[in-house]
Amino acid sequence: MIDIRNLQVRFGQGADAVTAVDGVTLSVREGESFGLVGESGSGKSTVLRAVSGLNDEWTGRIAVAGMEQGPKRQKSFYKLCQMVFQDPYGSLHPRHTVDRILAEPIAIHGLGDANARIDRVLRDVGLGPAFRFRYPHQLSGGQRQRVAIARALVLEPRVLLLDEPTSALDVSVQAEILNLLRRLRAEHGLTLVLVTHNLAVVANLCDRLAVMNRGRLVEEMSVEELRRGAAREPYTLQLLRASQGYDRATAESFRDYA
């Protein structure tokens, strides 16, 4: 479904140039739930933004649903592939009601039947019609994230890209959103690409994952292997150990893998 070959993303010019993504190659099968894991500066979000079309300064090859993509995307691409952002407080326009937020993609693509679509998608994400005319500041963090997911789903995409969708949420709300994503994936046959630093979330929601560090792909593995702790690269092992809670002895052994 998604095929990335030798993706390179550079920011800045000349001597100050920073290579955010350095030759990443990976593919995601249709219907798969794929996790892209790394710490800050690993380039995982940059890869996602390049795939989504937000970032147009990359080299390499990106193909989605078999179609090669260039730096500028066609409007039809956005009906195929949508994105959910990390910060529920920043991804909804503060002056638009939920109704307006959901009606906009429908209007942009000239799909009719706005009322029915909005009602349906709101119910799909577990919010009822009572939320339809609220403003974002009248919603909790979890509710805002549901609206963001609804907005992504209203165009009925086949691919959903998620950039740290639960990092800004409370633990109890995170569980609800993960369950919601699982259900939506099953009901709509979605392909999910989830960027996160949290290995437990990946273990819960994904089938396969890739680990990135400093712009490079370090390792790919199945979630089964993750659960068994069967990582091969030292960086991945270090990440696994750090995710399991504080331990004085192991903290000592951490190294900087460039």
Binding site: T97, G126, A130, R134
Partner: protein, 310 residues
């Protein structure tokens, strides 16, 4: 920390106050009105701001009802009663032609309001368009538009207005055009600054990811966020606009006699200011009060509309 349920509130809201403050609005209109109501209750708490609003409203009412309110005709001359001090017959005295100053002030309110409304309708709008376009597109569009703005800002407002009026001929309409043409740069700067802050937000990225055109994003997403700052700035600038118009009138380049424009009235009262102070002072007080009203209103609006407070 109770969870919000998603069933609508059980008993039907009683009264319009509940209808406005409900947290489950049933329609777009209800949501918008509810928001406006929340803004009004916040504004109402600031007494000085309400005072400012009342002054501005008074200006509007006086201007609307001028023929009814004015005790005398503003152009009626009575050369036997020139330069009379305030009395029962003429509450604010008479000017050099025996005309009732109070009536002239009341009719002059129309001119003041017209000047204010015309400038407020044109300059901020122009500034908004230029600022948002420059801020959103960046690159050479931004550079070109902002350099034009810088050049326009570099000219002192009054001098430039003088030049326009001198070129177009004296008269109140030309004075208004001159003021409007020279007032837009600060609004462009404000709009651009707001646009730059908002441009990288996730909700703008989300709009782009839906295939929204730049026009749609600027009109529907960016401009609504700039409007609050612009409203505040416009209100605060109104005092300056009135004074500029008064200045032009004072110099004889704005309203022409016998129009009762407040600045022109001060100008004609200038030579009597030591003996018959009321001829110049009364229009001066009027300008002072109205400017104060706009300033208080603007401060109050800023407290309510500040987008960072959302």
């Amino acid at each position: 920390m109770t969870a919000r349920t998603d069933t609508p509130s059980a008993p039907r809201p009683a009264g319009w106050r509940d209808w406005l403050t409900t947290d489950t609005p049933q329609s777009r209109a209800q949501a918008r009105l509810g928001r406006a109501w929340a803004g009004w209750t916040a504004f109402r708490r600031n007494r000085l701001a309400v005072a400012g609003l009342l002054i501005v409203l008074a200006l509007v009412v006086v201007a609307a009802l001028a023929p009814v309110l004015a005790p005398h005709h503003p152009y009626a001359q009575d050369l036997n009663n020139r330069l009379m001090p305030p009395s029962a017959a003429h509450w604010l005295g008479t000017d050099a032609f025996g005309r009732d100053i109070l009536s002239r002030l009341i009719h002059g309110a129309r001119l003041t309001l017209m000047i204010v409304a015309l400038v407020a309708a044109t300059a901020p709008l122009a500034g908004l368009i230029i600022g948002t376009v420059a801020g959103y597109f960046g690159g050479w569009v931004d550079t070109v538009l902002m350099r034009i703005t810088d050049i326009a800002l570099a000219f002192p407002k009054l001098i430039l207005a003088l030049a326009f009026v001198a070129a177009l001929g004296p008269g109140i309409e030309n004075a208004v055009i001159a003021i409007a043409i020279t007032s837009w740069p600060p609004y462009a700067r404000i709009a651009r600054a707001e646009t730059l802050t908002v441009r990288r937000s996730d909700f703008i990225s989300a709009a782009r990811l839906q295939g929204a055109s730049s026009l749609r994003i600027i009109l529907g997403h960016i401009m609504p966020l700039c409007v609050a700052s612009l409203i505040v700035r416009t209100t605060l600038d109104m005092a300056g606009v009135i004074l500029t118009a008064a200045g032009l009138g004072f110099l004889g380049l704005g309203a022409q006699p016998p129009l009762p424009e407040w600045g022109a009235m001060i100008a004609s009262g200038r030579q009597y200011v030591l003996e018959q102070w009321w001829v110049a002072a009364m229009p001066g007080f009027a300008i002072f009060i109205v400017s104060l009203g706009f300033n208080l209103l603007g401060d109050g609006l800023r407290d309510v509309l500040d987008p960072k407070g959302d």
